[in-house]
Each structure stands twice: as structure tokens, then as C-alpha cells.
């Protein structure tokens, strides 16, 4: 341990009690990474309990010229919380209180460490929920949702996190505390709240968040349709939207995924189908029944073989279990997976899926597709055994080709996982130098020191304001 490192730890222990400043080998090992395949190098991990403690930790890091990385549950998939360059990891998991709930106006103030599903459970008594529902909702934190502008299956109708966060108290890198947005509708002036959501920890650290809660629908119908071609399933999706319906969720699984899931949950899914659509409609009873009827007609028009409408809550839960446990089910095929996240216009879903199959074949890999078809948000899941020599190179090569194919088809780099480190160097596929310079200007306004989670999102030279040096081995 260097002298400077010891002084940093001493300074942090002066502002946060010693048991919440951890620099042992085990802790540092645990906080080297998030849920991505990327590795970093933290200097120290701190667990503040209050806005003031967060502020003091930030000030200590900045005084030492050391980057700081805010972290929630570490479920991010793009390496956004991977600490580079001997960063101070500021873990918000102990700031996990729901501070207030206004059930009438459907708002709640929460600390960033509150888990997504815990919030929904706490407000269920009022007939409300927090709409963003990423697959990790049992373990991901609201602070992480804000940082990544997280989505989930039900964001098709209700929008991603940015639509559900109306204010955030934020600690900036100069140690000031600022309220971005408000629970009152301050329309005038720059929407700094909107700019902050999805900034991947690079603008500051949210210490309190005001979220909008959503009324639970009076009625829900969940149905499963299966098709003999991916194309027929995708056309059904497009036609549902074009007919003026926005289902609560519109999810698709391809053949290999259905087989993996069925072997795991035994829900009676059709093993020979090329694609299975899970459609959920929610709302008032008459509109809902009319939508169900129209959706079934559209599906049958595209050759849906069977239409299974959940008859009760138990069957609905079973159908969703198939969707939500897909990632667990793949362990039956291979021990490791790499999950991608791109968005393409709905109408090109069949072509892009076909390209993905070809790319994966060419690299001699396996892919399962389980994704948010309603908004064109693809999640190709490459499955592999990392003990196989040379496999990681093939996985990354295929992944890169998938990202390129998605953007070339008029799509975007990420629908809900963010850019982080994983896709940072793909940003020029979507943005030119002037576009990236504008994003770098946003960051400079919030963090002129370039110490808040540096070297993420923006490729150099757009990130030239950030502290220099990326450690060896930071990349897969």
C-alpha cells in the first residue's frame, strides 16, 4: 500500500466510520466488477449512510485527485460500475430507506439503495407499483436504475426510468448538493433531471430520488401465441402496434430459448415453435377484452398455431416465469453467457434476427433470443463454456458484429443496459465527433474535474477531459 493510498483511506475514515471504509483484499476483490465480464481495480470501498457522508467521500476523493464510482447492487451489465484507475467505490446499498410515500399523488421519495422490487412491495398496499421492471428487479437498486435509465418488459407501455423519476438530490464532484427537478412541475429552465437520468454515474451521485408510482391495472390478461417462423411472430408485433394498441408487455422467445425454458419450468411451452410471443394487456375491462380479441385475430392472421390465454393468476405467473427465468434456464445448455442489448426498428426484427443467427453460426456459437419485441429491444444471449480455448475471442467478435448489424439496420447501441465500458468504443457507430463533443460538454458542466466514474460512455478523444490512464487488464 502506497503512502498516498494510506492517507486517502485515513481521510475517508475521518468522515465515515472505520468499519464502513474497507480496503481488505476480499472486499476489493468483490468490488472489482459488476455483472458484466469486465474487471477493474478499486482503491477502497466506502459505505456512506447519508448525503453528507457521500459528500465528504466525494470531497476526499477529489482532494486526492482520485476518481470515484457510485455503485448500487452491481447488477449492471455494461461495466458502468467497474472501478478503473484505483477509484474510490462509493456503495449506496446502506442508504436504503423509503423516505416518504404520497399515495394520493402517487409519488415516493427514496434513497438510492432501495431495491426496485422492495419499493413496489412497499407501495402495493396502496394499489401502486414502480413501473420499470428490469429482469434484475429483485436485486437492482433505484439508484442504479436512475444511473442506467433502466427498462424492463413493462416499459413498452409505461416508459423507461426517465419517465418515472421526477427529481433527484445529487452530490456533484465539487461537493455541492443540488436538487435536479422537483416534485412540483417546474417546466421552465433546463431539464437537468432528465440529463442526469442515464448518465451512468458520470455526472454525480444521486442521494435521494423522487419517483412516480403507477396505478396497478384493474385487470390484466396474459397470453401466449406460438409461430412456425420468427417472421410471423415479428409481423404480429408490428401489426398490433400499427393497429393502435400498446400492450403492457410484448415479449418474444425463439426456439432454442423456449426449449431451454421448458426443460426448466415445464409450463407446456410448444417445443417445436420457431417463436413464442408473450403478450400482456392491462387496463379497464372493456378495452382490455377488445384488445385481446384484436390481438388474437392479428396473431391468427399471421399463422399463430395456438393461443393460450392464462386462465388465472397461477397460470399467468407460470407464463411470466418462463420469460423471467430464461437466463437461469440457459445453464442447462452451457455454463456461461454473454447478454447483448440493442434496439432495432420493429419492422426489421426478422432480418436482424436472421443476421444474428448467421453471425453466431459463423463463429460456431449458440444463441438464444429472449427480448422485448414490442419496442424492438433485442437481447441475444450467447451461451458458451469459457473453459473452451479461444471461445472468448469468438464471443466478443460475434457480439461486435451483432451490435454493428443492429446499428446498420437503423437501430441503436443499447435499449436499457447503457454504454458503460462495454460499448464505449462503439459510440462512433451512432455518433459523429460533433455529437460526441456535445455529450462531453454535458459531462463537463456537471463534473468539470472529470473524476465522477471516468472513462465510461464516451470514447477518447471525446473523453479527453477525464483523468488519464486506463489500467492494464481493464478490458476483456
Amino acid at each position: 500500500m502506497s503512502g498516498a493510498h494510506e492517507v486517502l483511506i485515513g481521510d475517508l475514515r475521518a468522515v465515515v466510520s472505520a468499519d464502513r471504509v474497507r480496503a481488505g483484499e476480499t472486499e476489493l476483490g468483490l468490488y472489482r466488477r459488476d455483472a458484466s465480464n469486465l474487471d477493474g481495480e478499486p482503491a477502497v470501498v466506502v459505505f456512506p449512510l447519508s448525503t453528507e457522508e457521500v459528500r465528504q467521500c466525494v470531497l476526499a476523493a477529489v482532494r486526492h485527485g482520485v476518481p470515484f464510482v457510485a455503485r448500487g447492487s452491481g447488477t449492471g451489465l455494461a461495466g458502468g460500475a467497474v472501478p478503473l484507475d484505483g477509484a474510490v467505490v462509493i456503495t449506496l446499498t446502506k442508504m436504503d430507506r423509503v423516505l416518504s410515500v404520497d399515495p394520493v399523488n402517487r409519488l415516493a421519495w427514496v434513497e438510492p439503495g432501495v431495491l426496485n422490487l422492495d419499493l413496489t412491495r412497499q407501495v402495493a398496499v396502496h394499489g401502486l407499483h414502480f413501473a420499470p421492471d428490469p429482469s434484475s428487479q429483485q436485486s437492482c437498486s433505484i439508484g442504479g436504475n436512475v444511473a442506467n435509465n433502466s427498462g424492463g418488459p413493462h416499459c413498452l407501455a409505461d416508459g423507461v426510468t426517465a419517465a418515472h423519476v421526477i427529481a433527484a438530490e445529487v452530490v456533484l464532484s465539487d461537493g455541492s448538493v443540488v436538487m435536479l427537478g422537483d416534485d412540483a412541475p417546474l417546466d421552465d429552465g433546463l431539464d437537468l433531471r432528465g440529463a442526469f437520468v442515464g448518465s451512468e454515474g458520470m455526472f454525480g451521485i444521486a442521494t435521494k430520488v423522487c419517483v412516480r408510482l403507477t396505478q396497478n391495472p384493474p385487470a390484466v390478461r396474459t397470453m401466449l401465441m406460438d409461430f412456425m417462423s420468427v417472421d410471423a411472430g415479428a409481423r404480429t408485433v408490428s401489426d398490433i402496434i400499427a393497429a393502435g394498441m400498446v400492450p403492457a408487455a410484448l415479449e418474444m422467445m425463439d426456439k432454442l430459448c423456449v426449449q431451454a425454458v421448458e426443460g426448466y419450468i415445464h409450463a407446456g411451452l410448444p417445443l417445436d415453435a420457431a417463436a413464442v410471443l408473450l403478450v400482456e394487456v392491462a387496463g379497464l375491462p372493456h378495452g382490455l377484452e377488445s384488445d385481446v380479441e384484436r390481438i388474437v385475430t392479428i396473431g391468427r392472421g399471421h399463422g399463430a398455431r395456438t393461443v393460450r390465454i392464462a386462465q388465472d393468476e397461477a397460470e399467468r405467473a407460470l407464463l411470466w416465469k418462463g420469460r423471467k427465468t430464461a437466463f437461469g434456464a440457459i445453464a442447462r445448455i452451457k455454463p456461461n453467457y454473454y447478454l447483448h442489448d440493442t434496439v432495432v426498428p420493429r419492422r426489421v426484427l426478422p432480418q436482424v434476427l436472421q443476421q444474428i443467427y448467421e453471425i453466431v453460426d459463423r463463429h460456431d456459437l449458440l444463441v438464444l433470443n429472449v427480448f422485448h419485441a414490442g419496442d424492438g429491444n433485442l437481447h441475444p444471449l450467447l451461451v458458451f463454456d469459457k473453459r473452451e480455448p479461444g471461445i472468448m475471442e469468438r464471443v466478443h467478435a460475434a457480439g461486435e458484429e451483432i451490435v454493428r448489424a443492429s446499428v446498420a439496420a437503423g437501430g441503436v447501441l443499447s435499449g436499457e443496459h447503457g454504454i458503460g465500458l462495454e460499448k464505449r468504443d462503439f459510440m462512433p457507430l451512432m455518433f459523429g465527433p460533433a455529437d460526441l463533443a456535445a455529450q462531453a460538454a454535458m459531462r463537463r458542466a456537471f463534473d468539470p474535474f472529470g473524476l465522477a466514474n471516468p472513462w465510461k460512455v464516451l470514447p477518447s478523444p471525446a473523453a479527453c477531459g477525464d483523468v488519464q490512464h486506463v489500467p492494464e487488464g481493464a478490458w476483456v
Partner: protein, 293 residues
């Protein structure tokens, strides 16, 4: 990039004060400053993607008329241009159901203070690639860049759309029992609700309410109060008001007529931060000079 956009960038140029105006329904450009206007016209509409692309000078009402043919609309306040509605960023009284204006913009190509065309956001309905510059542009009143061409999220037109009213000396009773109404308004004496959707659902939701032609007339000015304080507005204002229940926007003839303790203002540190953003985007202050962020 379209040639109209290139010509617009050339017109904005890289030097000297410049302002922008559309139909001037929201105040128009900065007086006494060279004035430009953005490209106009619909580029494309993809109904099955629920997206539409148009020049920023396209009138909102013209865009809506076009979308209505495919049973869709766009959640921007009517009147004026698309660019004006976005740049001013004020949501209409439909915000409760439609969401705020800032959620409508998916991609913007704007002309920067350096006279360059810059792209923010992406063309798909879901996108978290990079920082959300689109949200910063909405409500920026042309101080960060001039909107040239935009891609907007569309939404389906409701099958049925009807206004109802009832006497109410508090605002929350009707609001609490409705499922996702599009608007609930209160003037201290009556509540109005806009209920949309399937005809039979609208009928059932409106039980106990009287159908009416529309909302009350909106006074010209507006202030923001915390949504939980909307009920207190009646005792804190002299003169007529219309409050958006569940949101907190209060429309009144004179914003100063509302008791100061109910009015919410922005954190001064946020204003400083907004000015830092402005300084980064327009270091010489040439875009819409004098407009504060």
C-alpha cells in the same frame, strides 16, 4: 443529413448573435437580433414504429392532422410549431395522461453555436445510448442549439374522449377513484375530468359525473405547486385559478396572486449548473442572447 438542414446550419452560421422564430405563438425570437427559421415539413411517419420525423418549423396542428389519418397523434401542446413546443417545453393540461413534453422527443438534429449540425438521441422508441441530450434540449428555449429536424414518439388516438364535471370542494376524491384519467382539473368549486379509452370503460368510469363540453377556460399564467398542496390553493389565491390535479400546475391570471409559501422555485444551485451547461454549449452567448436557462 437533409439539404434543408445543411442550409439551416449555414444560415445560423458560426458568428454573431442569432435568434429563431417559428409562428411566434410562444413569444417569438429575441427582438432586434438576426432571426432564422428551421426547416419545415413532414419527412416520414412510421405508424408501426410509432415514430414521426419532421422539420422543427412544422406546425403542430398540421402534424397532428397528418397523424390522425393513421389513428395516431403526438403529445405536444397545440398551436405554433413543433420546434417551439419542444424548445419552450411546457406541457399541456393533458400531462397527467400523456406525460410531459420532454418524453416526446426521441432524436434531434440541431444547429450548435458553432454552426454545426449535431445529433442527439436515436430514432428508436427505446434508447439509452449515451447521455440524454434530447431531454436537455426540451425546454432549453433555443439557448443550447436551434432544433432543425426531430424524430418524435407518436401515440394512438383514444377510441373515445369525453369531459365530465362535478361539484367538488376538494380536488382528490374524483382523482383517486379514476384509473389513469388524461386530465383532472379543479377550480376550487368544481372538478373536471377528461376520460379516454373504450366507450364502455369511459361510461363506467364516469359514473356520478356530468358530461360537459370541455375544460374551463385557462387563465394565462401558470405556477408550480407541490401536487400534495393543490387542495390548499383555494385558500391561498385571490381570483380565479385552474389547478392540474396529480401534477401541480396552477393556471391563474396573475402568478403573483398565489401565496409565496405554496410556490416552488428551482434550487439556485441548479440554476448555476444550468448556466454552466449554457456556457459549455454556447460560450459566446450568441444563441438567443438574453434568454436565461
Amino acid at each position: 443529413m437533409s439539404s434543408a438542414l445543411e442550409a439551416f446550419a449555414a444560415e445560423v452560421g458560426a458568428e454573431g448573435p442569432v435568434t429563431i422564430a417559428g409562428l411566434s405563438t410562444r413569444g417569438g425570437g429575441v427582438p432586434g437580433v438576426r432571426c432564422v427559421s428551421a426547416p419545415s415539413g413532414l419527412r416520414w411517419h412510421q405508424a408501426d414504429e410509432m415514430t414521426v420525423c419532421c422539420g422543427a418549423s412544422t406546425p403542430v396542428d398540421e402534424l397532428r392532422a397528418h397523424l390522425a389519418v393513421s389513428g395516431q397523434t403526438v403529445a405536444l401542446p397545440g398551436g405554433g410549431t413543433v420546434g417551439g413546443a419542444l424548445a419552450v417545453g411546457r406541457s399541456s393540461w393533458r400531462r397527467l395522461g400523456d406525460g410531459p413534453v420532454r418524453d416526446v422527443l426521441l432524436q434531434a438534429e440541431y444547429v450548435s453555436s458553432a454552426g454545426e449540425v449535431v445529433k442527439a438521441g436515436g430514432p428508436t422508441v427505446k434508447n439509452v445510448s449515451g447521455f440524454d441530450l434530447c431531454r436537455l434540449l426540451v425546454g432549453s428555449r433555443g439557448a443550447l442549439g436551434f432544433l432543425g429536424e426531430v424524430i418524435l414518439r407518436t401515440r394512438p388516438l383514444p377510441a373515445e374522449s369525453r369531459w365530465f364535471t362535478t361539484e367538488a370542494d376538494e380536488p382528490f376524491g374524483v382523482f383517486s377513484r379514476l384509473y389513469r384519467p388524461t386530465s383532472v382539473l379543479w377550480d376550487g368549486l368544481r372538478v373536471w375530468a377528461l376520460i379516454e379509452g373504450h366507450a364502455a370503460d369511459v361510461r363506467e368510469q364516469s359514473a356520478g359525473l356530468d358530461e360537459c363540453d370541455g375544460p374551463p377556460p385557462f387563465p394565462a399564467e401558470r405556477v408550480a405547486v407541490r401536487p400534495s398542496m393543490v387542495g390548499a390553493v383555494r385558500g391561498a389565491v385571490s381570483g380565479r385559478f385552474v389547478a392540474e390535479v396529480g401534477i401541480g400546475t396552477v393556471h391563474l391570471d396573475d402568478a403573483r396572486a398565489l401565496a409565496a409559501e405554496l410556490t416552488v422555485v428551482r434550487d439556485p444551485r441548479a440554476t448555476e449548473l444550468a448556466r454552466s451547461v449554457k456556457a459549455e454549449f454556447d460560450p459566446t452567448g450568441r444563441l438567443n442572447p438574453g434568454v436565461d436557462v
